[in-house]
């Protein structure tokens, strides 16, 4: 597993996402309210660029008439057929048994660590003064 430095934290503020290719794989990294998530940007259903869809919540029901709306902003909805996946885990809410999208750990690391490595710095110039978003792949 390699650790990839993909951006200074300042360039990926809450509510944004970054698309990139790492080792030939299309990846999207999200900042949701200060938490970072990484997903393979390919829907396991029919292959759409999954992470271009909207981030929504999860509407579910335990009993008739009881509706819960949870995981607000943590469910990615595919831009084609609307299949829903949990960006924390990659779990499908359409067909959990057969489908999952690959999720990648994302962390914020201080520049002092990133400079030392072992990191793959993509095309990012790294300095000790900043914090960086790092994807494990």
């Amino acid at each position: 597993m390699a650790r990839h430095v993909i951006a200074p934290v300042d360039e990926l503020p809450p509510g944004t996402r970054k698309f990139l290719e790492i080792d030939g794989r299309p990846i999207a990294v999200f900042n949701v309210k200060g938490e970072f998530f990484g997903l393979l940007n390919r829907c396991p259903h029919q292959g759409a660029a999954l992470c271009e869809g909207p981030l929504i919540g999860l509407a579910s029901s335990s009993d008739p008439g009881e509706i819960e709306y949870t995981k607000l902003g943590e469910i990615i909805r595919c831009p084609w057929h609307g299949w829903e996946f949990d960006i924390r885990t990659g779990q499908s809410y359409c067909d959990p048994r057969r489908f999952r999208v690959k999720a990648y750990p994302v962390n914020v690391e201080p520049g002092t660590n990133v400079v030392k490595g072992p990191y793959v710095a993509e095309t990012i110039a790294v300095s000790v003064e900043s914090d960086y978003v790092v994807v494990d792949l």
Partner: protein, 369 residues
């Protein structure tokens, strides 16, 4: 919450389809409201701006059910130059035609004059849409072929428009929608079938329409999901009407295409029709063959949204009944329930049947060499 850092989506998922395919349901759109004006007489510009359009259905400005995705379309299908999904030829080429190796694309415009009460206006807009298809699409990309749209509730004007376009190689079919003022076998629509048969053009019947009737046979349902599945029952009503009113008995070389309404229901509808026909044929003596025979001989089916049973054997059995020679692959681009060419057909289909499914049936039906 949903701000994206990247400016533009790239063309996504390319496919594993190596040989050419036909896409028998592509929806071209207008980039701007007045894109049609150059094809309409000045009189209609003023009319549209003063009076607007008055459809049969109650909803003036859109479909009866909201569509869950913007313009019912893939969210990655907005052209980079702006405008609605499906309104840019260059982006359609980049996103659909080139990566999927589409060698024949059939255009089915949905936002036309169909369903407008003012029949002169309906006819003028339909004719304008036909000119627009040539100028904006088919003359610019020889893979694309148009569908002649007609003022569906005015059989006389519709037949005149078909005759005007007959022999024009920019068009490969006549296009109707499934939900009209009356079921499609009614005599008011016969001039359309007569003219289509005369021109040697199939008549496509696409799910949807503006006739004002609810999507179900028992009233207005609550949810969009009910409209989505309701397209199949509307289409069954249309097909039963076409068969039982004797359209195929009267127009024996007429070919029709059921577009975007499923095909899994075809065998059971035909079985039921045959069963009651055995008992009630005296009521419809104009039918000289069993209903199932008319359906098998006169009807083709586009595939999207593909039937997707858990067991592929169930799919194959259904197709065996219909015939591998009667299915026409379609994506429905740019709409959100798009079928990705490489993902629709399960393993276990012979090369000959795959070839028929993806390309040869369409070329044969539409007369493309």
């Amino acid at each position: 919450m949903n701000i994206q850092l990247r400016d533009r989506p790239e063309a996504s998922a390319s496919t594993g389809i190596k040989t050419g395919i036909a896409d028998c349901d592509i929806h071209p759109a207008r980039a701007t409201k007045d894109e049609l004006y150059p094809y309409l007489a000045k009189r209609w510009h003023a009319h549209l701006e003063t009076f607007g359009v008055h459809p049969y259905q109650g909803m003036m400005g859109g479909p009866p059910y909201p569509k869950a995705q913007p313009n019912a379309s893939r969210r990655d299908a907005y052209p980079p130059e702006g405008g609605k999904q499906g309104s840019s030829l260059s982006f359609m080429q980049k996103q659909l035609l080139d990566p999927n190796n589409v060698v024949l694309g059939v255009l089915n415009p949905l936002d036309t004059g169909q369903g407008i009460r003012n029949q002169d206006l309906a006819g003028a807009i339909c004719s304008a849409i036909n000119d627009w298809q040539i100028e904006k699409w088919t003359s610019k990309d020889s893979r694309l072929k148009g569908s002649i749209v007609v003022a569906n509730e005015d059989g006389v004007s519709a037949a005149a428009e078909i005759r005007k376009r007959a022999g024009d190689k920019n068009f490969v079919q006549v296009l109707l929608l499934s939900r009209n003022v009356e079921p499609l076998g009614q005599r008011r629509y016969w001039p359309i079938y007569e003219a289509a048969q005369e021109a040697g053009l199939p008549v496509g019947v696409h799910a949807f329409g503006f006739g004002g009737n609810p999507i179900t046979a028992s009233g207005w349902p609550s949810y969009y999901i009910e409209e989505m599945v309701g397209h199949s029952q509307c289409q069954q009503t249309a097909l039963a009407s076409l068969v039982l009113e004797g359209v195929f008995a009267r127009f024996p070389s007429l070919k029709m295409v059921m577009v975007e309404a499923g095909f899994g229901w075809a065998p059971s509808l035909a079985w039921r029709l045959d069963k009651v026909f055995d008992r009630l044929h005296a009521e419809v003596p104009h039918l000289t063959r069993k209903p199932s025979e008319y359906i098998r001989d006169h009807i083709w089916w586009t595939t999207q949204p593909m039937e997707d049973p858990e067991s592929r054997d169930h799919l194959f059995q259904t197709i065996e009944w219909i015939g591998w020679d009667k299915l026409l692959f379609a994506t429905d681009y740019p709409h959100w329930d798009y079928d990705e060419p490489s993902r629709v057909l399960p393993a276990g289909v012979s090369d000959a049947n795959r070839q028929a499914f993806y390309l040869d049936n369409a070329k044969k039906l539409y007369g493309i060499s």
